[in-house]
């Protein structure tokens, strides 16, 4: 991206040829803005205004108290903290477990290497529907269902295969000269990994972590089944339960405020890191 910084002189002939493209993409982009803009406006309106379609008029003024209500009475704060906890811990643990595994798989030849790599690759295609039932049964026998520790455990396990898969390609693209030099200096392979290779893999780790962050932050199905209590719900399930209770209390302004609160962290993260995220998506998927 960076080499494009110098502004080219606008070539009108070229731009004209691109006009249809601009129009199509432009409509799409405007549409996206309208959708998200509507959510934000609705979050400052009252239920009556939303259902009468009058949110653009603000006849009764802005209603920032929706946010206060959502944060306090709707327990968004608690869901938010849960999500933060789940994502922070799982993202970290996934790297701590996944990076060494990916490194070993990418660097060492041993029996079963290919098999293990294939195993992790197939995990990407196993639908959640195949694994949740036995896990549910297992953990309820262990009396662990609906606990925070369990969701974190599951998020780690479920996101490991992709992380390993992604970092595997990343390590493979790193030159072996680093390790050779370290070996000459008498550095053990283990130490080489922690002090040299892991830092070198930093860009890859950051990319995959951002990707994991967004996946876990928005995760729905696993937490619906394994963490569906007022104390353990993360934001996505919390939001759904709020929408459900909204039907019985009819506070739609508060609900959209909750929606905004929920999508804000990912949105802000996205604004600052969209290049990285995009790199993560394409880098991870392309070899699939």
């Amino acid at each position: 991206m960076k080499e494009k910084k110098i502004k080219e002189k606008i070539n009108w002939k070229k731009e004209m040829a691109l006009a249809p493209g601009y129009i199509i993409v432009g409509i799409w982009v405007i549409f996206t803005f309208v959708l998200i803009g509507w959510i934000i406006l609705a979050s400052f309106s009252t239920t009556r205004e939303i259902f009468d379609g009058n949110i653009f008029k603000f006849a009764t003024g802005l209603h920032p108290e929706n946010y206060v209500k959502a944060w306090k009475t709707q327990k968004v704060s608690s869901y938010f903290m849960n999500s933060l906890l789940y994502t922070a811990i799982s993202c970290t643990a996934v790297i701590i477990l996944g990076a060494p595994a990916a490194y070993v798989l990418s660097r060492f030849k041993f029996r079963g290497n290919g098999l293990i790599q294939n195993l992790f690759a197939t995990a990407l295609g196993i639908p959640a529907i195949m694994i949740i039932m036995p896990l549910f049964s297992l953990f309820s026998q262990l009396h662990m269902n609906q606990s925070k520790g369990l969701v974190i455990f599951l998020y780690i396990a479920v996101n490991l295969p992709f992380t390993i898969f992604f970092l595997n390609t990343f390590f493979r693209n790193l030159s072996v000269t680093f390790e050779e030099a370290a070996a000459i200096d008498g550095c053990s392979p283990m130490k080489t990994f922690w002090t040299i290779m892991l830092p070198l893999a930093q860009p890859g780790i950051i990319t995959v972590s951002i990707f994991n962050f967004i996946t876990i932050w928005n995760e729905y199905f696993i937490s619906l089944i394994f963490a569906n209590t007022a104390k353990t719900r993360p934001v996505a399930v919390g939001l759904y339960s709020m929408i459900q209770s909204m039907r019985y209390t009819g506070d739609w302004g508060g609900m959209f405020a909750a929606v905004v609160i929920v999508f804000l962290p990912t949105f802000i993260l996205y604004i600052f890191l969209s290049e990285k995220i995009i790199a993560g998506v394409t880098g991870g998927a392309i070899k699939g």
Binding site: K75, I89, I205, N228, Q244
Partner: protein
């Protein structure tokens, strides 16, 4: 690069420590929930686990949360409420099967007794005792007798295994101001009167009735029972064949409703709660719905909304009259594996009598359980309907008992009231 790494590692380490701390915390709280087995005299230190059908944010949830505090103050018993909301329909049973410690749970009276019957503790004996909020009488004497009877008849082996609360009934809820403006003085009792009133409402520039996907099955069930009676209607569900000739009559009558513009043009596409929002906005006069409707739309309806209610009109000579209606309640049940049956029942009594019974009703525009209950003004007409009710319909007159039938009703009724199917097409599609 080195510095970056060390800061990264610092972050990782902190997070790992949080992880350790967190999992420690989780076991701790588990320990607390599982503990408290010792029974004390006087002030108890028992902890009950209550899986609640409410969300903490609903008026009922808020009231229960307050009651839990008051209960603890009075008895020393801690009630650990697990706010499940309506997700309890999915979460309770696996949790009970998995042996999770749950003492009390609640939901609709039919669901708790029929679907969850095998987990219930028989409370006949506990209910015969008197408690400090029952004036020295047995609990069953001070709460709504009709509902106690209902709970008993639904209970496993005909034993009272649940204590009802939050009574409700299903009838036509309407906007009295619209009726007045249209010049209707008396709510309709027969289908002909109904049609005549619809015409007046339409002439007054309002839409007579609406529905959405949540209540279509109920509407169909009610209307069929008014055409051919409750037993024949339930038999159709039992045989999984919606093939009575009267289905065609239903189709014709609602085709007419559509053609004359009596049913909201949005009805086919309404996704719950869009139907009741139309009532709240004052554009639609009537809705066949529960007595909980005033509560559910109090935020979007004007504060002075003038509520009225009447029983769904009588339709055919072979069908039921206006004395047949669905009524029911939510109810509390106790897990048969509980170690604290008495304490759990004490809490249930606390919730269903006296101060908290009234508060719960007041905060949710609902009906208290006490026999001499005072009803909120929104429901005065509903009480008359309920008092005149002698035949009880099960929920949706059985139409939701089979997921396939319910799905079929939703699809075809929506097509019928948007003119995509005629009466014959509707009857044929329902037969399939």
């Amino acid at each position: 690069m080195k510095r970056k790494l060390s800061s990264l590692m610092a972050v990782l380490l902190t997070c790992a420590m949080v992880l350790g701390g967190c999992s420690g915390g989780a076991t701790e709280s588990n320990g607390a929930a599982a503990g408290g087995e010792s029974k004390g005299e006087g002030k108890s230190d028992v902890t009950l686990t209550y899986y609640s059908m409410w969300n903490e944010t609903e008026p009922q949830g808020q009231t229960i949360a307050e009651a839990v505090e008051a209960f603890k103050e009075k008895t020393g018993i801690t009630v650990d409420v697990n706010w499940q909301g309506r997700d309890i329909r999915k979460t309770l049973q696996p949790a009970l099967d998995g042996g999770q410690e749950i003492d009390i749970f609640d939901e609709d009276i039919e669901r708790v007794n029929k679907t969850w019957g095998k987990y219930l503790l028989d409370v006949e004996d506990l209910a015969k005792k008197s408690y400090d909020t029952t004036d020295g009488k047995p609990l069953t004497d001070v709460i709504n007798k009709k509902l106690v009877e209902l709970a008993r008849s639904l209970g496993p082996d005909g034993k009272l295994s649940t204590i009802p609360y939050q009574p409700s009934s299903f009838m036509v809820m309407y906007n009295k101001d619209i009726f007045k403006a249209a010049g209707i003085t008396e709510p309709p009792k027969t289908w002909d009167e109904w049609l005549a009133d619809c015409a007046k409402i339409k002439a007054a520039g309002k839409t007579p009735i609406t529905v959405d996907d949540a209540y279509m099955a109920s509407l169909f069930g009610y209307h069929m029972a008014r055409l051919i009676g409750k037993d024949k209607t339930l038999a159709m569900v039992e045989n999984k064949k919606i093939d009575d000739p009267a289905v065609l009559t239903f189709g014709q009558q609602w085709q007419e409703m559509y053609e004359k513009g009596y049913i909201s043009k949005n009805a086919a596409g309404n996704i719950y709660p869009a139907g009741q929002q139309e009532v709240a906005s004052g554009n639609v006069a009537m809705y066949l719905n529960g007595t909980w409707l005033p509560n559910e739309i109090k935020n979007s309806a004007p504060a002075d909304f003038n509520w009225g209610s009447f029983a769904y009109p009588a339709v055919g000579k072979d069908g039921d009259g206006t004395n047949a209606n669905q009524y029911g309640a939510q109810c509390f049940g106790i897990n048969k594996n509980t170690k604290h049956a008495e304490e759990a029942f004490q809490f249930i009594v606390f919730m269903t009598t006296g101060e908290w019974d009234n508060k719960l009703a007041e905060n949710s525009i609902g009906v208290p359980m006490a026999n001499d209950a005072h009803l909120p003004k929104q429901l005065t007409e509903a009480k008359a309907v309920l008092d005149a009710t002698t035949i009880r319909y099960p929920w949706a007159v059985g139409m939701e008992d089979v997921a396939d039938i319910n799905a079929k009703i939703k699809t075809n009724f929506a097509l019928l009231v948007s003119g995509k199917l005629d009466a014959k097409g509707f009857a044929d599609a329902m037969k399939k």
